[in-house]
């Protein structure tokens, strides 16, 4: 291992080192402020270390990882999202007056490490290990804020389902290994070039099982059952982490599987994935209509959004990396925006975040700033111009048109139209008169510790949301530059 190898994986090393430092710090002195500072500092440092890492691209580091423009782009997305969530967690945890919050940041760091390693993986072993690092940290993170039994229930649910999906994934990997004799992603390409029949039952089955594992993590229909319950049960910043960091990392990996190996384009898999996309878009949007809980609405909306991103992936052709990257960046910004507002709102009682639609009634009067930010995020999720969500939807529709795939395109349009209804429903609730008496609400608002930090994060997210919506050129340039430095 040479020095350049170490520089290439510097962000991962920084994250791991920060986790160790934090662990030692907790052993010496427990302090929320200290743990928060170490975690934030580590994440910032990891972001900065992306710069030296970008000098030698693309750069294979052992057979397990490849650091290329693509990997660094997604590492940046993951690190910035984690940083945002970390900043939001401070006020959130303070407001809940937990006894111990230190391990929360530790778990956040290890989960981020797993996600960041995932996007650089080019080998099934590193893929599986990174995914497990992410998932195991998430299980603990989901049930960390134990005000009552719902986080615990969500944690157990995630543990069981995640275990099952890992078993599928592992079995799939084993079958692929049995068939090809290697665990490298690129082996599949060589196999297909060498004429090994990829549509032969064992290999195809292996690929299908791997896709089941990935589908679970992305909560694509029909593997979506866990998403609403876990979104609802976990505390708002953790939900944001599951929705943004975990899902975009896994989607980035799926995209790499697609581009690194020609195998996923061929044969019946495309049809199956197309069906998964159609079902995700339809079921996500239709089931969201029935919800009263904003977290559940966002869960179903994220199922639908990953369906849209899957359209960009499936029919994008050479255009796919760009389209999917734009989509995932937009998805991260707007989902973080929505959850950031939810994090800053006072809990509706000691057990629950402000997650019922009724909790949002009258918000336009009592907290105009936050409610405007929430409305902007929702409009972005609905794909209205001047928000980054519109650019994302534009890319998804463009790849659908480019690939002239009318079924996917039609579902995308139908799904977006249905989606408008439930996003608007939340916005309408914010404009309506509040349910609670005025003085009661004032009492609630008075007891909140909100802080400048949280407001600054929300403001930054909204600026980004609108800024990139109005002028996406820098983002597109960045994505093109990183895609050009990708190892195919």
């Amino acid at each position: 291992m040479r020095a350049t190898d170490l520089i290439a994986i510097l962000p991962l090393l920084v994250l791991a080192a920060t986790a160790v430092v934090l662990l030692l710090g907790i052993a010496i002195h427990r302090s929320h402020a200290l743990s928060f500072s170490i975690a934030t500092g580590g994440l910032l440092l990891a972001c900065i270390s992306l710069a030296p890492a970008s000098h030698h691209l693309p750069h294979p580091v052992t057979p397990l990882f490849t650091v290329d423009g693509y990997a660094l782009f997604y590492e940046g997305l993951i690190l910035l999202s984690s940083l945002t969530i970390c900043l939001l967690s401070r006020a959130y945890l303070d407001a809940r007056k937990l006894q111990r919050c230190d391990e929360y940041y530790l778990l956040l760091l290890t989960a981020t490490l797993g996600a960041a390693a995932l996007v650089a993986s080019t080998h099934y072993a590193s893929f599986f290990l990174s995914l497990e690092t992410l998932s195991l940290s998430l299980i603990a993170l989901i049930s960390y804020v134990r005000g009552h039994d719902r986080p615990l229930e969500a944690g157990i649910k995630y543990l069981i389902l995640s275990g099952v999906s890992s078993a599928f994934l592992l079995f799939g990997i084993a079958i692929l290994y049995a068939g090809l004799g290697t665990l490298s992603f690129s082996s599949i390409t060589h196999a297909s070039l060498a004429g090994t029949a990829l549509s032969a039952p064992p290999l195809l089955g292996g690929i299908a099982l791997v896709l089941v594992g990935i589908g679970f993590k992305l909560s694509l229909v029909p593997f979506h059952m866990w998403a609403p319950d876990i979104y609802e049960g976990a505390s708002a910043p953790v939900t944001a982490f599951v929705a943004v960091v975990s899902k975009s990392a896994v989607f980035a990996l799926l995209l790499r599987l697609f581009t690194a190996t020609g195998a996923f384009h061929a044969g019946p898999l495309t049809i199956v994935l197309g069906a998964v996309a159609v079902l995700s878009m339809l079921a996500g949007n239709l089931l969201a209509l029935l919800q009263r809980n904003v977290k559940r609405i966002l869960a179903y909306s994220s199922i639908a959004h990953l369906g849209y991103a899957l359209v960009a992936l499936l029919v994008g052709g050479p255009f796919a990396i760009e389209a999917v990257s734009v989509y995932l960046v937009a998805y991260a910004i707007m989902t973080l925006g929505a959850f950031a507002v939810m994090t800053l709102l006072p809990p509706s009682d000691s057990l629950r975040d402000a997650d019922l639609i009724d909790d949002y009634r009258g918000l336009f009067r009592s907290r105009p700033g936050l409610s405007l930010a929430f409305a902007a995020s929702l409009l972005s999720l609905a794909g209205i111009p001047l928000t980054v969500g519109f650019i994302a939807k534009f890319y998804a529709v463009a790849s659908g048109v480019d690939g002239s795939h009318s079924v996917l395109l039609g579902t995308l349009v139908a799904g977006s139209i249905i989606g408008l209804y439930y996003y608007l429903r939340v916005i309408v609730a914010m404009t309506a008169a509040p349910l609670i008496m005025q003085d009661d609400q004032a009492a609630r608002a008075g007891g909140v510790h909100q802080g400048v930090l949280g407001n600054a994060v929300v403001a930054a997210l909204v600026l980004l949301l609108i800024g990139l919506g109005a002028y996406p050129t820098p983002l597109l340039a960045l994505i093109r530059a990183s895609a050009s430095m990708t190892l195919r």
């Binding site: 409009l379 111009p385 408008l420 050129t473």
Partner: protein, 511 residues
């Protein structure tokens, strides 16, 4: 640059009006008025800046070069006329809601001005991406205008309006993308520029389907028969100012789209589709008029009459003869003025009677002479009395359509008779007959502010009906330019001549 200010100014003015509410309520109204007055100055300055040719002003900046998208605004006679209409009705909307809106006054003027900014963008954008951008953008503030300040069923109406127009907008997005991808495959450059795409799809087998995507988005907005069900709800539930902007301006964006995009971009496909489209128009003319007659809610009556009037526009556009197009432009302006004025008058009535129900009106001619006289003027304008603007529009459309398709023209002419029935019924049920015993005993007639707004509109419609020549002079060269696009023929002259070379070189999309 002036054209960009035309869009930025209402945004800035809107935010100023919003903040100004803290000091004085009236201040935000005055700021809104001042902003619109400044707009008027800007557009006149832009229009008189250059000499000759159909193109009066243009602005072009690079925006998203990776996708061949430019920030491109142009002004020709057609856009100029519609921008002037928008400014005029915007002024009328602000003045007429002076006492109607008492809650969240600043926010109201912000949403109103933002809607207008979006509409200006729609009328000026000549990059299809930019056009779509503004097309969707103007809906959001309009949605809030209805949802926050509307009447009883406002949430439902706002939702319906938003979903109908957004949904059809997505079809247009697909059509825009398909058109530019067809162009990219033929020429290798990805662009959304209107002039580059003119005739791009002419030879493609997809032309018909792409045209249909545009067509659906525009006829939902127009709205044509079968696509109209959002309109009566939205118009009825919106506050008066909202109804004025909806009927007067937003419906015109649909007609503008048909004129500017459907016909010039797809001449052959549109020609092949002319008969069904015109039949849809004729059906709308009669259907709207018959349903207007059956309404008890005054606002719904006016809303259905809009469907009838816009049916004529649809017929005229697809007849595609010089006379019919002249008529279409006059009809758009006249309908904007007359329907806008009717909604304002109905708003005044509602402020006084606290109802819009025709069954509880009657005998208002006695206590409200000024309002009654003005209501009379616009009701008969609506039925197409010669001497008032609507007559010129409808007459020219029918005259221009007759050589193209006589049966549809004859069917549409029947709409003129049904229009008489609903307009006269409106007058009869509100102004004449016995006074309703339940209505307030002392009714105040229109104030000076109210009278001056509606009287100005009345003067405008009378001018349009008696001497429309200045309007023809303004838009005739623009219409000539639109019609120059023959099926499969060479493109029309670009604005700016040599400046066209400066266009951002769009890159091929494949990485």
């Amino acid at each position: 640059m002036l054209l960009t200010w035309l869009i930025i100014a209402p945004v800035l003015g809107g935010f100023a009006a919003w903040r100004a509410e803290r000091w004085r309520r009236d201040l935000s109204r005055w700021i809104a008025l001042a902003t619109l007055a400044a707009e008027l100055g800007l557009v006149i300055a832009a229009a008189t800046g250059s000499g000759g040719g159909p193109w009066l002003a243009e602005t072009r900046w690079s925006w998203i070069p990776q996708l061949g998208i430019a920030f491109r605004l142009d002004l020709d006679g057609l856009s100029l006329v519609l921008v002037l209409l928008t400014i005029g009705l915007g002024l009328a909307a602000v003045v007429s809601s002076w006492t109607e809106i008492t809650e969240r006054v600043g926010l109201f003027h912000l949403t109103l001005l933002l809607t207008l900014a979006g509409v200006f963008g729609v009328f000026l954008a000549f990059d299809l991406f930019l056009f779509f951008f503004f097309w969707e953008l103007m809906l959001v503030p309009m949605y809030f205008l209805i949802a926050l300040w509307g009447h009883e069923q406002r949430i439902r109406a706002a939702m319906k309006f938003f979903i109908f127009t957004q949904g059809s907008g997505l079809l247009m997005l697909i059509a825009i993308l398909a058109l530019s991808i067809v162009h990219e495959r033929a020429t290798g450059t990805l662009t959304f520029d209107y002039f580059a795409l003119r005739g791009a799809a002419a030879s493609s087998g997809l032309a018909f389907w792409i045209m249909l995507g545009f067509f659906l988005a525009f006829v939902v907005k127009l709205p044509a028969f079968l696509f109209h069900s959002w309109l009566p709800d939205a118009h009825t539930e919106a506050p008066s100012a909202g109804s004025v902007i909806l009927a007067g301006v937003l419906l015109k964006t649909g007609a503008y789209g048909l004129l500017r995009f459907v016909e010039p971009l797809f001449p052959a496909a549109a020609h092949a589709f002319a008969v069904p489209a015109m039949a849809l128009g004729a059906a709308g003319v009669i259907y709207g008029a018959v349903l207007a007659f059956a309404q008890d809610d005054v606002k719904r009556l006016v809303a259905y009459s809009s469907i009838s009037h816009m049916g004529f526009v649809l017929i005229g556009v697809f007849a595609w003869t010089t006379l019919a197009l002249q008529g279409v432009v006059v009809q758009m302006i006249a309908h904007g003025i007359s329907t806008g004025a009717l909604f304002i008058l109905v708003g005044f009535l509602q402020q006084r009677l606290h109802t819009r129900d025709l069954r509880s009106m009657g005998g208002l001619a006695g206590p409200l002479p000024r309002l009654s006289a003005l209501l009379m003027v616009f009701a008969i304008a609506s039925l197409g009395l010669p001497g008032l603007g609507n007559f010129i529009g409808e007459f020219l459309i029918l005259l221009g359509t007759f050589p193209v398709n006589a049966p549809i023209t004859i069917a549409a002419t029947a709409g003129l008779i049904t229009a008489v029935i609903y307009a006269v019924t409106l007058i009869q049920r509100t102004l004449h007959g016995a006074a309703n015993p339940a209505s307030p005993s002392s009714l105040a007639d229109l104030t000076f502010r109210e009278t001056s707004v509606v009287a100005t509109l009345a003067a405008a419609i009378l001018w349009l009906g008696t001497y429309p020549q200045p309007l023809f002079n303004l838009e005739s060269s623009a219409l000539r330019d639109l019609m120059m696009q023959q099926p499969g023929g060479a493109g029309a002259p670009q604005p700016g001549g040599a400046a066209a070379e400066v266009a951002v070189a769009p890159k091929v999309i494949t990485p």
